[in-house]
Subunit: 413 residues, 2 copies
């Protein structure tokens, strides 16, 4: 038996039952692959019965963000224009999980085109935060975080361009891990930005993420507990609830034997990098969606058309400069962090908010640091607001697996 | 004594005498640093007399392309707008050479902004090919190649974005070596394209290049003689003279014990990559020269203004796509060449031509392969046309120093 809850066929049937019960209100899963999943779960159960599971994730029930191809299911990246496109084969990462015995349950809601962090999707519907209906689960991997938090799957794949795995992980109170750029193949994934996109993993425990990582990325390297601490005070919007919980997390880190050094990271200008990364992501998204946009403009929401249209009107030298600034800033951040084993920051400046409230402009100001500087990152829960909304911090590091190890050490302390 | 011609002070005085005699007709050197050079040469002579030279290039007389900063000399990149700008310090690579005892003679003519390969410079005048007055020396490092070929210095620094070291080396019949991207620091160099620019070295012998490299880059790694051969037949303009000399070079390689395999490299589309690299270079040049262009438009030639103006009007997504195609094509070329120790191609499709003749559109079609795929490359002489114009081939490789070793082996065979 897997160390989890029971035989994979029973566990998987249990997940489908919970999906049936809870998904109508949450709208996290969009398409299910029930028959194949149940067949795979029976095969997994047989392997365990024979004492021969394939891997640490044999039998694990996994959901997949809708921009990642799952053979036989719609592959639309949350964009109406592609709603009837069916993936003919699995994305490389999905194929790896399946080959290791994982059970792929279906595809998950997301912010349209992965360009935004509320998952208020006009075509596929809002995905709600399991902690509070009517509140955003974050995004763009909102369905991934909501499904994991609500217990509709054991883990989920997401993608992260400026924070799209870690922002929803933070708002939904789960772990969100983004390996460094290029660690997990992007083959079979609708790109938002090939320069900034990362595949990432969400789960309720760091052990579950570790299990998925054991299949998708190299073994972790432990380096140490010499930690830089950054709160961007005064440079991005940070809620008092976040400040308080983050300060307690830093205290906890010290108590756990971490050396902590507060840094300001002046090399990083949140407002400037926000503009630069958005220009790059939107210009690259124009390339990806150019044909579909001109064939079927109504298949894209008005806000998305406006963003991509703006990028299409920007002059080439402005983009050349943006890539240059991205590379130079990334190198400067790496150099500033070189003396440390990892950087600890809040994952987001605020907890989840109602759909009716505009998203903070600096929603990705903490998370995007990793995308800029080619670092890996793990967001992890650090408690809740007084009224029960999850709060989160993240570790960033250039050492593979380091941030997950540190997040595990800190949350189990 | 250095193994060359005599004491550095006498040798350097000899170079200045040749410059005085020949440079008025060639117009290779633009500004000389006579007093400092002679003083440095005397110091070098003293070191040799004391039996303590600093390096393999102590006392070597070196010229520097005018986009590379030489403290105290004009630093204008061949652009009129910057003609009165004086460099306050040496570029990093010049400082390294000086610290190793090299004698910096002065700065060399170049194609305006390094964007073009004829060195027909409206402001600083044409630089002529030492093999035939009125013919282009190639470019953009035309002055570097002409000065070396005419014996006005022992070696010269150049820069290479799509072939700007190797094209003039080919037209002037000297060795031109471009280490892989990033090997030599670009600090203190006016960029044409930070994505494609490389610092390179020109000299009459591979031994002289080896000596300069011993100061600027890591020690070479010999890998082998398993060579791919590419002639781009039918895909770019290639003169019969080049075809014949190149075939003889391939024969010579076989006789010298090289294994040769003819490849087509369908991954590389010369016309498409020409457009892509030009867009990238011109868009990046817009960023570098934006301020000077708006403050002093007449400081830029009409053709250069037209090229940069065109780039400034291109939409950002077109450039995003260009960078993407560059990266994907580079990776495909690397993969195609992985089974081989190096690639052998002609350096250019034609020999030098009169200034009055338009440059072939595919002037850099062979050379740019290295810039795209992050390879090092060495162009080397392979004879002349029946009327005495130099012809050239090049090796490309991903192993540091490999191409210079192979070119040396082949030319000394």
């Amino acid at each position: 038996m897997p160390k989890t809850l029971g035989p994979p066929d029973e566990v998987t049937a249990g997940y489908f039952a919970r999906i049936e019960a809870q998904n109508p209100a949450l709208n996290a899963f969009l398409d299910l692959d029930t028959e194949n999943a149940l067949a795979a779960a029976r095969a997994s159960t047989a392997r365990f019965a024979a004492g021969a599971p394939l891997s640490a994730i044999d039998g694990m029930a996994i959901g997949v963000k809708a921009n990642i191809a799952v053979a036989g299911l719609p592959w639309h990246a949350g964009i109406g224009a592609y709603r009837s496109r069916i993936a003919t084969e699995d994305a490389a990462c999905v194929a790896q999980l399946r080959a290791a015995g994982a059970i792929i349950l279906g595809t998950l809601n997301m912010h349209e085109a992965a360009l935004g962090a509320t998952n208020d999707n006009e075509v596929f519907g809002r995905c709600h935060n399991p902690h509070r209906h009517g509140f955003t689960p974050g995004g763009s991997s909102g369905g991934s975080a909501a499904a994991v938090a609500a217990g509709l799957c054991a883990a989920a794949l997401g993608t992260d361009t400026m924070g799209s795995v870690r922002i929803p992980a933070a708002y939904c109170g789960v772990f969100g891990h983004m390996p460094a750029f290029g660690t997990i193949s992007a083959e079979g994934i609708v790109p938002l930005s090939w320069t900034l996109d990362h595949v990432g993993i969400l789960a309720r425990t760091s052990a579950d993420i570790e299990a998925v990582l054991s299949v998708l990325s190299p073994a972790p390297v432990r380096t140490g507990k010499n930690i830089a601490v950054l709160d961007l005070a005064g440079r991005t919007e940070v809620d008092d609830s976040v400040t308080t919980a983050f300060a307690a997390t830093v205290e906890k880190a010290r108590a756990a034997g971490f050396t902590t050094t507060r840094i300001d990271l002046p090399e990083y200008d949140p407002a400037a990098m926000r503009r630069i990364c958005l220009l790059i992501a939107e210009a690259e998204a124009c390339v990806t969606h150019e044909k579909a946009m001109s064939a079927n403009p109504d298949g894209f929401s008005e806000p998305l058309r406006a963003m991509l249209g703006w990028a299409a009107r920007q002059p080439a030298p402005k983009l050349a400069s943006a890539y240059r600034q991205l590379a130079l800033t990334g190198a400067k951040i790496q150099a500033a962090l070189a003396p440390f084993d990892a950087l600890l920051t809040p994952a987001t400046g605020t907890p989840a908010f109602p759909f009716e409230v505009a998203a903070p402009v600096g929603q990705g100001d903490f998370t995007v640091i990793a995308n800029i500087a080619h670092l890996e990152a793990t967001a992890f829960p650090i408690g809740t607001t007084t009224d029960g909304l999850p709060l989160s911090a993240q570790f960033l590091s250039s050492a593979p697996g380091q941030t997950l190890l540190l997040a595990t050490a800190l949350t189990q302390h």
